[in-house]
Symmetry: C2
Subunit: 210 residues, 2 copies
């Protein structure tokens, strides 16, 4: 068996560099240098840069699919807030994926396709989630409105961290705040929240706008 240590260290170091400097700007030489190993050694563990990206992408997929699977059981605002929080943390850990998506899809078409598939799954999960919230009376909307809401939620979770870097005052160095991101996503459903569930939303509002 190949040494599990070096292989895993390559993946961790690659992820850190991809997140910090971008997928395109991170060469295999840089990764090797960061680890203090030779480019040849890196190539022994991963015959191509694409394979490193592929592994990281797979881990990201699994994280999100796990979250998608558990999203069916969300029946209250605080469940939803926690779920959004966890999702933003996952996306933030692998933030290079959505941030550098255009480059990634262009350089590795197979991953571009899988990103579309993942988005499709996210949409299905979000729609089930919204329908569940309607069924349990947390929010009150038409079925059509619920579908648009689901789309907006997926859009926000997918793109928010990338957008944040464009907003002055939160530069790329600052750690993204998953809680704040989750709050912003919650504001999408805010207008439709029934009176019984408003308490928790107001609590969060005070916490993040104060």
């Amino acid at each position: 068996m190949a040494s599990p240590n070096t292989r895993d260290r390559i993946l961790l170091s690659s992820l850190a560099l991809f997140n910090a400097e971008g997928l395109a700007a991170t060469s295999t030489h840089k990764i090797a240098a960061e680890l203090g190993i030779s480019p040849g050694n890196l190539h022994y563990h991963f015959k191509a840069k694409a394979l490193i990206v592929d592994w990281l992408f797979r881990r990201f997929e699994q994280r999100l699919e796990t979250l998608n699977a558990s999203s069916a059981s969300i029946t209250a605002i605080d469940d939803l807030w926690l779920a959004l929080h966890l999702r933003f943390e996952a996306i933030n850990e692998y933030r290079f994926i959505y941030r550098d998506m255009a480059f990634l899809a262009s350089e590795y078409p197979a991953l571009g396709q899988r990103a579309q598939d993942l988005t499709a799954h996210n949409l299905v999960a979000a729609q089930a989630l919204c329908e569940g919230l309607v069924a349990t009376g947390v929010i009150e909307t038409s079925a059509e409105q619920a579908r648009i809401l689901a789309l907006q939620m997926v859009f926000t979770t997918t793109c928010w961290l990338s957008f944040e870097r464009l907003v002055p005052g939160r530069n790329a160095l600052a750690q993204a705040d998953s809680g704040l991101a989750a709050f912003y996503t919650l504001t999408l459903i805010s207008p439709y929240v029934s009176s019984e569930s408003r308490a928790y939303l107001d609590y969060l509002r005070g916490k993040y706008l104060g």
Copy 2:
């Protein structure tokens, strides 16, 4: 013009290739080949690829700043719809800028800074817009809610076209529909629209959901 000068043709061809294949994947050789001129000739007109990107970015800035300047006079839903439509058309014409923003900012840091500045201006304009809509009674919200609304609108106009490519069924080849994008942005303010202004919104809803 029947035969625009070579300099302009380079800019137009570069824009088309950047949009179609990505900023990173478009080499200066490709641009020259597309135009049927030599790489040397291209270099005569633009000493560096960065200068081509710079010019295109400047044109994009001007387009958006013009739209920002005129956004103060928006006092009705149909004005807003038109403004959003024009904005999405501009962003779509230069779609490589927001789509490849991470790469662009990493490769050309000066442009990354200007993108932040532009976003700041967009936010100011959107906030003025939302305040105006409140003042004229088109929407009814708290001042705090209006600020969040403005942020959501800038977020959506900035990132929507990039996100759209991730949604299965609308691949990169299909022309983006600025009208549909504008409608999705309008749904953000939909919950706050006062009864007098709802007619136009319902008209659009029928048009784009039907």
